[in-house]
């Protein structure tokens, strides 16, 4: 190990929350050598962000305290510096970039002004012309096309990926020695993420800075880190070189995290013979459960005084798709490609512009709300956000029993409650959870309840809209296993909307890739994932950060056994 740039020794950060004290960071030590990257990995609430904020001293002083520890940068203990001196360190020696590119730039200032301001703050002698020159150079450095003309652009004129580049340019404008990146690519699509990660590695090579990189994604870790620290509940449970930790994890928690990754989960044996022959084609006599033909969902763009429709946003454009009985169809694509709109249109939550949707041969489009009601039993939906998917004012019992009452399931109230309790048990929750409110549950539990609600009407078909994206990997693994077992028991069909390729490979029988409202490729998951035909699919798959090659043979072997 070369000379360390940053050394953190026995750092403790306690946060005051009401009248209790949370040990957010508890006795953490690590060091970052010059020009290398240290990755902090852990699930939500493990204290990795607080740890990084402690290093740059950005925690609110009234709430955060450091009972012990040293943070030594260039031989200087940052915890002992007073406010004016720490401000001089921030920006010039340490810079930080954040997760959310949409909110971390000031929307009323141009990007040029924002970078120039940082520069002139740290170099008061710099002239305006020189600052502008340096800014344009910084923008060029982060590969923003036509940097000099973008200088006067406002943040809303840039895409998410470009904003994150501007953030990086701003952070690097004063040539810091240490860059702290707090989940800088989590909010971005995989292809954009791949570009940003490549850019950050290149900038590190050019400038020789060190990075403290926070992430929950082991794929990103393998791409970025020389050193890894795994955090659990404020403690650093394992520190070591990246290859060492990933190949030979010592701590049980690290092993558990790695095992919970979708690509490492043991694949269940599939009941392929049911509806398909060896080639994976549908048997001729087996009609698909849901048949979508030439579906269009267009949103009008209205302009002017008379609100005339000038154009359409073609969210879903000429999509045709079959969902066979008892199969899981994964719908993959980047944000804004129309996959969620498609899912909602199938359930008639979004009014389609044209096309046909049939479930068991019955046409859905053009039906009135009353005619649609009996058909709603057959198709249900589960949502992404555990915060908003359950009505906060209603008991779980009401949420589960009300749809049954409307559709005449169960003879009386007692029977419906018994059915609801059985549903909770089927998603591995306890019966007495019926008498609780949504805010009493964790995110994973709420997603299970969301699934239970989708199952209340005993549907044939469920749309799962990114139901695991807001969850930690270990919880995600549990939910995925639960989905598979429910599918097995009830012979359900699922339309599983996701952007996570690992989940697709683990879960689905078929994969449909969407791009800009159109389906670019569809087929059996193994074929699409291992031999993508279309250029876009290839680009998407190659952008997915994966664990190191060492794991690959194990994975492939496992898959072959499963098939």
């Amino acid at each position: 190990m070369s000379q360390p740039l940053l050394e953190v020794r026995n750092l403790r950060t306690y946060l005051q929350s009401g009248d209790r004290e949370v040990r957010a960071v508890d006795d953490v030590s690590f060091s970052i050598p010059k020009g290398e990257t240290f990755c902090l990995v852990g699930e939500s609430g493990s204290g990795k962000s607080v740890c990084a904020l402690s290093v740059i001293r950005l925690l609110p002083q009234g709430i955060a305290s450091h009972p012990s520890g040293e943070i030594v940068l260039n031989g200087q203990d940052l915890l002992k510096l007073d406010d004016p001196r720490i401000r001089a360190v921030r920006g010039s020696h340490i810079a930080m970039i954040f997760q959310e590119p949409m909110t971390s730039l000031n929307p009323v200032l141009t990007i040029g002004e924002q970078i120039t301001e940082t520069l002139q703050l740290h170099y008061p002698d710099m002239s305006d012309a020189e600052a502008e020159q340096r800014t344009i150079m910084a923008l060029e450095q982060v590969q923003i096309p036509h940097a000099s003309s973008r200088f006067r652009d406002y943040p809303h004129q840039l895409s998410g990926g470009q904003r994150q580049r501007v953030m990086i340019a701003m952070a690097l404008a004063c040539k810091p020695q240490l860059l702290i990146a707090d989940e800088p690519t989590t909010a971005l699509d995989v292809t954009v993420q791949a570009e940003i990660l490549r850019l950050m590695r290149k900038l590190q090579d050019d400038t020789g800075m060190s990075m403290l990189f926070i992430t929950h994604d082991f794929g990103v870790v393998t791409q970025m880190a020389q050193w890894v620290g795994v955090m659990q509940q404020g403690k650093m449970v394992e520190v070591g070189s990246c290859t060492e930790v990933l190949r030979n994890p010592q701590h049980p928690y690290t092993r558990q995290l790695l095992a919970a990754l979708p690509e490492n989960l043991a694949k269940p044996v599939r009941g392929r013979s049911l509806s398909q022959n060896a080639a994976g084609e549908l048997a001729a006599d087996q009609a698909p459960l849901v048949q979508i033909r030439d579906l269009k969902v267009w949103f009008p763009i209205k302009k002017g005084l008379l609100r005339r429709t000038v154009d359409y946003v073609r969210a879903v454009d000429d999509v045709s798709l079959d969902i066979p009985q008892g199969e899981i169809v994964a719908l993959v694509g980047e944000s804004g490609c129309g996959k969620t709109t498609l899912g909602r249109a199938v359930l008639q939550l979004e009014k389609p512009t044209a096309g046909s949707i049939q479930i068991q041969g019955q046409e859905l489009i053009g039906l009135s709300a009353g005619e649609l009601r009996p058909l709603r039993r057959k198709m249900q939906i589960a949502f992404q956000d555990p915060q908003s998917s359950l009505n906060p004012r209603l008991l779980i019992e009401t949420t589960l029993a009300e749809p049954m009452k409307v559709h005449g399931i169960g003879a009386n109230h007692e029977e419906r409650i018994e059915l609801a309790a059985q549903l909770l048990e089927s998603v591995q929750l306890k019966r007495h959870f019926l008498w609780r409110y949504p805010h009493e549950f964790s995110g994973g539990q709420r997603q299970r309840i969301g699934l239970a609600r989708a199952l209340t009407l005993d549907p044939e078909f469920i749309v799962c809209d990114e139901i695991t994206s807001a969850l930690d990997v270990s919880v995600q693994a549990e939910i995925l296993q639960l989905l598979l077992s429910i599918r097995q028991q009830r012979n359900l069909s699922l339309l599983f909307i996701t952007h996570n390729i690992g989940v697709v490979e683990y879960l689905s029988d078929r994969t449909v890739v969407m791009y800009k409202g159109k389906i670019v490729e569809q087929g059996l998951t193994e074929q699409v994932c291992s031999h993508p035909q279309q250029a876009y699919t290839q680009k998407l798959l190659s952008a997915v950060p994966r664990l190191k090659v060492e794991n690959k043979p194990f994975l492939k072997l496992n898959k072959e056994i499963a098939l």
């Binding site: 209790r20 909602r344 709603r376 939906i381 949502f383 908003s388 009300e402 409307v406 009493e440």
Partner: protein
């Protein structure tokens, strides 16, 4: 995975607990409770007749005999409200329905069966028929609000404790009536105008705003124009005009304040519904094929009602001020005392009598202040950003 420490509190009781956390809001609630108590039991608190007396072995309660239809109805409604509140086994909706039904029945019964003596001469209660008794219990304030104490030679405008042989805690007004008694009876007007006017405004606002928010599109565009039209009506001048043409009536005032004051509530409800419509749990309710009434009133309204209640608490204060303003201008109700009217008296008299201004003015101030305190505490309690600071989960 860390299991969150969970609480068994319902959403409503959590909000209620957080609302009551401050000191100011407790004072505000105490004041409003005091007003309610005074308004309901006014005839028993300040009246010229004995509550209970025994004359030649016959025990009678003159106050009960002289209770007006209004008094009986208010008392009945209060006890129905209390009983319904204690019936915890029923759902909130059923309890509200039961209360409304009870109040209606009480109003009909009171009108049919309560027949107080038509002629009411307070001086009679100080004659031998009521004074030469075995024993009697008088109200805490032994003067009715419209008892001008002519037989006692009241000169009027006596400062507190300045009268000879009588105790007037807040002095007397120009006609000689006791100010404290008038203050107590005036609680009714202030409370009822605040609650009923806001109730009318709330009802119209929720219906119009809810329809605008849920259906959006053309309904929303038309509704917003209607809202804008009503926002432009100057309530005070409309009130003055109506008083000039149709004379003075408390009920007219309530209706006018209510009918012109709903636009703000409609805006709140509309915004909330537009937001809620896209919430996943509402979408899930639609996907389950639930009927429209359930979606609107069970899944959407309870989640959008909180910011509205804050606005209402400010609206109640506004309505009280409107009535006080009107009475202050001499255009309020004639026969019943109100705080604004008392302030008007204070200004019109030739000399400045501090007790005529301080007590009603202070009461108006305290009431408006209390409602604003409650509204503010409520707003803070439902704001998740502020709630997180006081020990929520991260």
């Amino acid at each position: 995975m860390i299991e969150h420490v969970v609480s068994r509190e319902s959403f409503a009781s959590r909000i209620w607990r957080r609302t009551l956390e401050g000191v100011g809001v407790k004072v505000g609630f105490a004041w409003v409770m005091l007003l309610v108590f005074a308004a309901v039991f006014a005839p028993f608190l300040a009246n010229s007749m004995p509550l209970l007396m025994s004359k030649e072995g016959v025990i009678s309660a003159p106050v009960l005999q002289y209770l007006s239809v209004e008094d009986v109805w208010i008392l009945a409604t209060f006890f129905i409200a209390l009983a319904v509140y204690l019936l915890r086994r029923l759902s909130t909706g059923k309890r509200i329905l039961l209360f409304m039904l009870g109040a209606l029945v009480a109003a009909v019964l009171a009108n049919l069966f309560v027949k107080p003596p038509v002629l009411l001469i307070y001086d009679n209660f100080r004659t031998a028929a009521y004074t030469e008794v075995d024993w009697r219990i008088m109200p805490p304030v032994p003067y009715a609000p419209t008892d001008y104490l002519r037989d006692l030679n009241s000169r009027g405008l006596e400062a507190p404790f300045a009268s000879e042989g009588r105790i007037h805690l807040m002095g007397t007004e120009e006609n000689g009536a006791d100010v404290l008694s008038r203050m107590i009876h005036a609680c009714r007007i202030s409370l009822s105008i605040g609650l009923i006017a806001s109730g009318i405004a709330l009802l119209i606002g929720v219906v119009v705003g809810g329809l605008m928010g849920y259906f959006s599109g053309i309904v929303d565009i038309l509704g917003m124009r209607l809202v804008e039209i009503f926002e432009d009506i100057p309530t005070l001048f409309l009130l003055l005009t109506f008083v000039a043409f149709f004379g003075r009536s408390l009920y007219m005032m309530m209706v006018i304040i209510g009918v012109t004051g709903w636009s703000g509530y409609a805006r709140y409800v509309r915004t909330e519904f537009l937001k809620l419509r896209k919430q996943d749990y509402v979408q899930a309710a639609v996907a389950s094929g639930l009927p429209l009434t359930s979606i609107l009133f069970r899944h959407m309204l309870p989640n959008g009602v909180a910011p509205l209640l804050v606005a209402v608490s400010f609206g109640v204060a506004g309505a009280i001020l409107s009535e006080a303003t009107l009475s202050f201008l001499g255009l309020g109700v004639v026969d019943a005392p109100s705080w604004g009217q008392m302030l008007d008296q204070a200004v019109k008299s030739s000399t400045f009598n501090w007790w005529m201004a301080v007590f009603p003015g202070g009461a108006i101030f305290m009431t408006v202040f209390s409602y604003n305190l409650i509204g503010e505490a409520f707003r803070d309690a439902i704001d998740p950003q502020l709630a997180r600071k006081t020990g929520g989960d991260k």
